[in-house]
Symmetry: C2
Subunit: 136 residues, 2 copies
């Protein structure tokens, strides 16, 4: 991934290396503030702006995914391969879901008249097992 930085004309700084390490390591789709907090475990002086700028740069170049789950707070995913997400509306947890078989989703015929589809995002919303259990 650090290679991808260079390939995209971005400079490889200490901060960026750690931000990338953090987002690649985790599978919990953190938001910017969470990434920042975690990176501060290793680089206490990182500023939130730097995390925003790094994440935006990576997203614009397609190196990470942005997941919009609630009205505020974007969340990010280092896995850019085709897959779907389950979102718990109670606790906010996001879990990766493989897209089965032929992509998981069929477009209606009307779609080609509307535009060119470059990406399909599937969000399963509901309540995760932990929150279902807590409810009782």
């Amino acid at each position: 991934m650090v290679e991808a930085l260079r390939a995209n004309g971005l400079k490889v700084t200490h901060q960026r290396t750690e931000i990338i390490r953090e987002i690649v390591q985790t599978k919990d789709h953190p938001d910017v503030e969470t990434i920042c907090r975690r990176v501060r475990g290793r680089i206490p002086a990182v500023s939130l702006d730097t995390v925003y700028r790094t994440i935006s740069a990576l997203f614009e170049r397609g190196l990470i995914n942005r997941i919009m789950v609630d009205a505020k707070r974007a969340r990010y995913d280092a896995d850019v391969t085709r897959h779907n997400h389950f979102v718990c509306d109670t606790c906010g947890r996001i879990v990766d879901i493989d897209s089965t078989g032929r992509g998981g989703c069929r477009a209606s015929d009307k779609l080609s008249e509307v535009g060119v589809v470059e990406r399909v995002e599937v969000l399963f919303r509901g309540k995760c097992i932990h929150c279902v259990a807590d409810q009782e």
Copy 2:
């Protein structure tokens, strides 16, 4: 829809009637500011807060849908029946797409271990015909 207000213990005010009229009439999935601007054509004194509060109240009761397409600005849809959306990443246009056949989407088996799915949101992202044409 105005009936649904009463059924949910919400008072039927002049502002709410017009806000609902506006969002039901249009199919372009407007954001709060757009709804407010349009309602002002008929009630010049509506405040943006009132639109926010009305829209939130409707959304919380499941009477309208919220669509998160970009990092800022939620967009709303009075159609709460099962359907998908095409989003143009260039101009922001959102077009309704019927979900074909058996719901349009199959979940992987893993899903039932993760939680209970209450809703599935499918977003087709790409470039709409207008933006493809403008590009040339």
